[in-house]
Symmetry: C2
Subunit: 355 residues, 2 copies
Amino acid sequence: MPPHPLDQELPKHVDAALADYLADRRTLGARMESNFTDVVDGLADFVLGGGKRIRPTFAWWGWRAAGGDPGGDLAGPVLTAVSSLELIQACALIHDDLMDASETRRGMPTVHIRFGKKHRDEGWLGEAERFGLAAAVLIGDVALAWADDMLFAAGLPKDALQRLSLPWRDMRTEMLAGQYLDVLTQARGDSSPDAALRIDRLKTAAYTVERPLHMGAAIGDAPPELVAGLRAFGTDIGVAFQLRDDLLGVFGDPAVTGKPAGDDLREGKRTLLVALGVEYGADVLHDALGRPDLDVDTVDEIRARLVEVGAVDAVERRIAELTQSALTALARAPIAEPAGERLAELAISATKRTY
Amino acid sequence: MPPHPLDQELPKHVDAALADYLADRRTLGARMESNFTDVVDGLADFVLGGGKRIRPTFAWWGWRAAGGDPGGDLAGPVLTAVSSLELIQACALIHDDLMDASETRRGMPTVHIRFGKKHRDEGWLGEAERFGLAAAVLIGDVALAWADDMLFAAGLPKDALQRLSLPWRDMRTEMLAGQYLDVLTQARGDSSPDAALRIDRLKTAAYTVERPLHMGAAIGDAPPELVAGLRAFGTDIGVAFQLRDDLLGVFGDPAVTGKPAGDDLREGKRTLLVALGVEYGADVLHDALGRPDLDVDTVDEIRARLVEVGAVDAVERRIAELTQSALTALARAPIAEPAGERLAELAISATKRTY
């Protein structure tokens, strides 16, 4: 049987669902207050401007794992429901960029920078930065509120909405708890491996993989052993994803990652890799971390030290172990195919060495 | 028949519902990540630290107007559902204080100031202001997400949840659209009466009165003519509330309002009163508005001019007309008593002259 188009080209369909939803809300919003379209357009530019649609993909395959039929009547509502995860992610990123004072994302100005520029271009009163801040706060809030609206209006049966209310609730709180822990860890200068792993578990494992799978499984009324299997897979593979991402942030090819080499070091990210580097004695990290002017030679020196002290090997080993345990949990779970195969592929492709 | 305790002492019961909900979420949150209790405690201090519970009160009476029985099985779930409105309001105020860089609210430090101070007291790394900003963004986000969670888990019948999904959706968007219009109007220096009224309609009329009434009526499965009557009442009385508040912000007794006399002028609020003052030629406003160092003599001069040019009379007339049309709409609607009486009392007490 040939793969169903929804399985095959899910990100494209997620994009379309988001574009439709935002267009409808723009029409409703313009009726409410004509200037509100600034906010809707700011959100739509951000949401439709890129992103790999990872969370909807896991949620979709969680539903397929529970026997959801991509050719059935429920496929449309499920597509809309899983697409709403991108609005939560828009809130997370827009607010995160504001909190970090980041100026670009995906090569484009961030939302607070863009609205600050609008303020300056229009010659408005007051501080441009303050206007940019306000717009970013409000656009993120709109995204968070509309994620709920989109989920609730997706057309899912009421009992499915009821079942997914707990994973939905916990996912959002885990995301926000992860963001707070991240900010707090930076403020405390806590460079312990434990702090790095706790952030990874909340922000990447739970919010990005485990809960989307859990949501999809809940929509599909999965039996408890399937839910447990998918969640175990999601937790381990989610942390493994993040650890691979951390390695790419230091060792990745800029042509592939889209970020300058060593950018994670310049941003001062407290990853497990860095935490282990510090623990194992890569003292060069102490002065270098978080310095925006870090030069290429120092980045090279840090890379060499991270390898020498064994931090890279330790992280690689951890990735391998987590990928193995994730695949074992997946293999044991009573999954409807082709979801098991597809999830195994996603797990392997996202955790394999690419530098 | 003596009044039911829920009708009689609603704010106290709303406080208790919020305290219970936040205590439960604190327990769940601590299990997720121990440091997350900082966020929950920051939110709980804010939510339980004051507030008149206006929105839950209107929502409650909207439900009572549709025949809801305060002694029936549904009263507990309805109380929880209407209390969730205070979490949306917490998001609105915490984010508003951040956007306005306000340092105090209800005589206490605002959330971003409080967390900035914590950062300084602990001697943490990085900028204290940035930490305060991040905490306020995240605590507001938690409040917005938990408002939904609290509503969804209130125990309402599924068909009631379905009916209130549209007013709930529109209420949140109206609040955010109103906030954006407020920020934009300030930036543009738009001091027109039209802009002031559009903000009042979104932020106070729709978000504070009309939609809470609509929500309550939807929970109670009110017939369309009752919903329409309550919404017409809410729109007019909501604008009248705001206009009275605007007058109190300039003419109110500090002992009653809890704010220094003329504080709205120092903050540069673009109210209908100020807009009409400018339109009618109270030129003293041009230089004075938004000046934090505005002295008492100038405040007195502005008051005198606002009276002389007729701005105060015009606003008073508008309040009287709106109150009258609101009460007419209320009298015509098929309301279950004592809700009609109680809503009329609320309307009159909140719009009458108190200076």
